[in-house]
């Protein structure tokens, strides 16, 4: 049995670890709350930009802007959103696993004989250190990495990313832009997801906005007239093509922003859960060690008493 001194030292170290994990849990919880509330705050903008887009689409027969037109896929750009730091449970592993599965699938369709799909190459833009490290390890081509994003991210921090994606798409370097991110379902469950953002697919976008709307306030409070059913004859001022173009860019940016917020909320909530588990485990360990310590102390006392009484007996 270990000496009482040693056990005492171990209890102390576990206690201080517990303090740290507890603090991290609380920090993650408050950060998560903020991330969730900013996801909700961006919902109104998303709804309105969707409305403007649909009203433009109704007035023009077909949107011919390149950001809306699907073209034959030769190269894909994948934005991978992960965290910069570890200690957040399975958060990074989940999304990276999803990406690796996606990469493997695409490899199969490239080399598989029964495949009729055209082959395509995939390059990565890493947002967050963890994804960057992993993608380098599997030998993927990373064209850009973004590590400097703050946790209370603003739209301005997203501009370089979305600008990069749109430019690469416009230069015909890539024919499709996907984002791998983590969907924030609830504080206890997050789902990794891969979504297409360019070319802008209207059904996908609608889904995204509706999902966000559901997560928000009750319907009556949203105060959004159901104008979708009643077509309004809008007057368009300025170049319509240019308007659609800049709208498309803004929507892309908004989508990336929203996905980043979702990922952020997921990261914080999975960190919170991981840290909660760690604190609980530390608590259990302290209990166990305390028990061992008390037993050791008890046996020490018993031994001393028996030694003393043995001494007494021999003297008498």
């Amino acid at each position: 049995m270990a000496s009482t001194k040693e056990i005492k030292r171990r209890i102390k170290s576990v206690k201080s670890t517990k303090k740290i994990t507890k603090a991290m849990e609380l920090v993650a919880a408050s950060k998560m709350k903020r991330a969730v509330s900013s996801t909700l705050a961006s919902r109104l903008y998303a709804e309105y930009s969707w409305e403007v887009l649909t009203s433009i689409a109704k007035n023009t027969e077909k949107i011919t802007h390149p950001l809306f037109v699907e073209r034959e896929v030769k190269n894909i750009l994948l934005l991978l959103i992960t965290s910069n730091r570890g200690l957040c449970g399975a958060y990074n592993t989940q999304v990276i696993k999803k990406v690796l599965a996606f990469l493997q699938n695409s490899q199969k369709t490239v080399f598989g004989e029964e495949s009729k799909r055209p082959s395509f190459g995939i390059d990565i833009v890493a947002i967050g250190k963890k994804g960057d490290v992993m993608m380098r390890r599997v030998g993927k081509n990373i064209i850009a990495s973004f590590f400097e994003l703050p946790s209370n991210v603003s739209l301005f921090d997203i501009i370089p990313i979305s600008e990069l994606a749109v430019n690469e798409y416009n230069l015909l370097n890539y024919d499709k832009v996907l984002v791998a991110y983590t969907d924030f379902v609830s504080a206890l469950s997050q789902k990794p997801n891969i979504k297409q953002i360019i070319p802008v697919s209207k059904t996908d976008l609608k889904e995204l906005i509706e999902k966000v709307a559901e997560a928000g306030l009750p319907r009556e409070e949203r105060g959004r007239p159901a104008s979708a059913e009643k077509p309004v004859d809008y007057l368009f001022e300025g170049d319509q093509e240019a308007l659609i173009g800049s709208l498309a860019e803004k929507i892309t940016r908004m989508q990336i922003y929203q996905m980043f917020l979702e990922s952020n909320a997921s990261e914080q909530s999975s960190r919170m859960v991981a840290m909660k588990n760690a604190s609980d485990a530390a608590g259990e360990m302290i209990d166990d060690l305390t028990l061992v310590f008390n037993k050791a102390r008890q046996s020490n006392i018993t031994r001393e008493i028996s030694e003393i009484s043995a001494g007494m007996a021999s003297v008498n």
Binding site: S38, A41, S42, L44, Y45, A46, Y48, S49, E51, V52, S55, I56, A144, S154, L155, F156, D157, I159, P160, E163, L164, P225, S227, V232, D233, Y234, L235, F236, E237, G238, A242, L243, S246, L247, K250, R253, M254, Y257
Partner: protein, 147 residues
């Protein structure tokens, strides 16, 4: 008097939602003023100030880039929605903040000369934001407006 409902929305939050008498906005084709019962309109916005008129008082706001949507809702009230990349109440722009914005603009301009393409976009957007703030703040410094 008839009023219209002005909403200023950025991706980060709802900046303003208020009934106003009229509103002037900087569109891509020049400044326009929207009065109640304006016909439905969609147009782009440039950087500048959105000025609402409430009870004879000016309510200025700095905006950077975005869209404008004007339409009638089912109650016959004219809705003006401004979707901006960035917007800020004039009263939020204290002198101190303006000085900071000025310094930031200068700093950004210097940094921009030796930056890579990716970062350039970020700095360009930041610079535009800072410059707009400074410009609008200077414009309204001497005028009277509702805080």
């Amino acid at each position: 008097m008839k009023q219209l409902k002005l909403k200023i929305i950025t991706p980060e939050r709802l900046i303003l939602e208020e009934m106003v008498d009229q509103v002037s906005l900087p569109t891509t084709l020049g400044e326009i003023t929207v009065l109640p019962d304006h016909i439905p309109l969609i147009t782009g916005l440039t950087s500048g100030d959105v000025v609402a008129l409430v009870n004879g008082e000016h309510v200025p706001m700095a905006v950077v880039g975005g869209f404008l949507e004007v339409k009638q809702d089912e109650n016959g009230i004219t809705n003006v929605a401004v979707l901006a990349d960035f917007a800020e109440h004039m009263s939020e722009l204290s002198d101190e903040a303006i000085e900071k914005a000025k310094a930031r603009a200068e700093e950004l301009r210097k940094q921009m000369e030796n930056k890579e393409v990716v970062d350039y976009e970020h700095f360009a957007a930041e610079l535009e934001r800072s410059l707009t703030r400074v410009k609008i703040a200077d414009k309204w410094r001497t005028k009277k407006y509702r805080k």
